[in-house]
């Protein structure tokens, strides 16, 4: 896998490091800092570097994230999109996206989303009590009401959105509540992240000793509840896992292949592999910034940066160990470097709690569903 580079599938742009809420499990270290915002000259330089790369394909996702992107005004994104669209090569289709907490969505934002067909992901952890337990303003007030107001505006305009929720130990006995809650919102897809030990977040309620079996039961119950709904809504984790089980290769793991994901911090710092690496400082004080848009003559310069060479070598040693040791390697491809680093302090390790929850449990659930006598597959051509 170490010979692979790209193609570039996702660019994460950190328009701002600031977030207007202060989630208990957030990994971002500078989310209180309103001054860390990406200027348009940095957007332009990043676009020039990426679009000059030989590793582009014909489609690209550009997502604003790693801070609350809607704390910058819609005009900023209009200007940024104009810059990017002007710089992009002919034939490249760009899909823009925001991952937002939803609290600031108003009519002006939806106007912008509609103008540019922007994919919207709203972070919602479930019913009020689950959501407000962790997703709070700095004054301690929960953000549920404002997030739901944003979602209702999207629904009133008929604008599609997906949701991403973060699961904690509190969620594990609430599969039915979660399915009922998410289904009545009518999202295009539901993604279920787990509370992770990562950067600023030093503890996860899901990493406690007794949470593993409860998480397994939760996934089984969730799928059962989802299957009983009249309307099919994609559960991202099920779709992702089943796709991989049915047709995946280890090389599909975008998190360990350089330049599949390009991460640009507010100040132009460049990274690749997991987006969260930009926010991390290793136990030995090292950062995972491999260049800056102002200093690079080409995007591939970062592949020659000694910090990249060191990190990539370590990541690939970890992937090789995963291949040697783990039965799930074929449907995983070597895990997530940022979680290895956060949980073990190293990039060259193998199994993590994150693996167990987000890979193994879902693979086991999919295999179990697929093997039961009353399950059958349908493969439908949509082209």
């Amino acid at each position: 896998m170490r010979h692979l580079v790209g193609p570039i599938g996702l660019v994460v742009l950190q328009s701002t490091a600031f977030c207007n809420i202060d989630c208990r499990y957030c990994y971002l270290p500078n989310r209180s800092n309103r001054r860390q915002t990406m200027d348009l000259a940095t957007v332009e330089r990043a676009a020039q570097l990426i679009f000059a790369s030989p590793h582009l394909k014909d489609e690209l996702d550009v997502v604003w994230h790693a801070g609350e992107p809607l704390t910058a005004p819609p005009e900023y994104y209009s200007a940024a999109i104009e810059i990017i669209d002007e710089a992009k090569p002919d034939g490249l289709a760009i899909h823009y996206g925001f991952q937002t907490n939803g609290t600031l969505i108003d009519e002006a934002w939806i106007d912008l989303f509609e103008r540019h067909s922007i994919n919207i992901g709203v972070s919602l952890d479930g019913p009020r009590d689950l959501h407000d337990a962790n997703r709070k303003y700095r004054n301690g007030q929960g953000s549920f009401d404002r997030a739901m107001a944003g979602v209702e505006r999207l629904r009133a305009r008929g604008y599609p959105f997906h949701v991403i929720g973060v699961l904690t130990a509190q969620s594990l006995h609430r599969a039915r509540d979660l399915v009922e809650f998410y289904w009545q919102l009518g999202p295009t897809s539901i993604g279920l992240n787990v509370e992770e030990v990562e950067a600023q977040n030093r503890h996860s309620s899901l990493y406690d000793a007794d949470a593993g079996a409860a998480f397994d039961r939760f996934v089984a119950e969730l799928l059962s509840e989802a299957a009983a709904q009249d309307t099919p809504i994609e559960i991202r984790d099920f779709a992702r896992t089943m796709s991989w089980v049915v047709a995946g290769k280890p090389e599909d793991n975008d998190l360990v292949v350089p330049l599949r994901i390009v991460n640009v911090a507010w100040n132009g710092d460049l990274s690749t592999f997991c987006p969260e690496l930009l926010a991390l400082t290793g136990a030995d004080g090292r950062r995972f910034v491999f260049g800056n848009v102002r200093d690079c003559r080409a995007l591939t310069d970062i592949l020659e940066d000694e910090r990249f060479v060191s990190a990539a070598g370590e990541i690939w040693r970890g992937v090789a160990r995963c291949e040697e040791q783990c039965q799930y390697f074929r449907v995983c491809g070597g895990g997530a470097p940022v979680n290895k680093l956060s949980e073990t302090g190293r990039l060259d390790t193998t199994e993590t709690n994150f693996c167990r929850l987000t890979k193994k449990t879902w693979v086991d659930a999919c295999l179990q569903l697929a093997s039961t006598a009353d399950s059958r597959f349908e493969l439908t051509r949509s082209m």
């Binding site: 193609p7 996702l10 089984a220 992702r240 193994k360 659930a365 493969l379």
Partner: protein
């Protein structure tokens, strides 16, 4: 009473949509997942791929040979087109 329901499962490069139909009554909440039962994970995956290949000979090289759409695994924004769930 057994109710058949569909779970939308995934998309491949050719645009195929994979659905899994199962009995809603067949998977109670108490049936949590047991790892490493009678077969290893790789052999269970291989069995599933063979089952799919046998069931879908019309898919050219076989469903098991389909390439996953090069979606970005991190956010799966590409998987969130408004009409995707309705195709199944």
């Amino acid at each position: 009473m057994t109710q058949n329901r569909r779970l939308v499962a995934g998309f491949t490069a050719s645009g195929a949509v994979l659905c899994l139909t199962l009995s809603a009554d067949g998977h109670g909440a108490g049936q949590y997942i047991a790892r490493g039962l009678e077969q290893s994970v790789p052999s269970r995956i291989e069995s599933l791929r063979e089952k799919l290949n046998a069931g879908f000979p019309q898919s050219g090289s076989g469903a098991g040979e389909e390439q996953i759409q090069n979606i970005v695994q991190f956010f799966n924004f590409s998987n969130c087109k408004p009409t995707s769930a309705k195709k199944c």
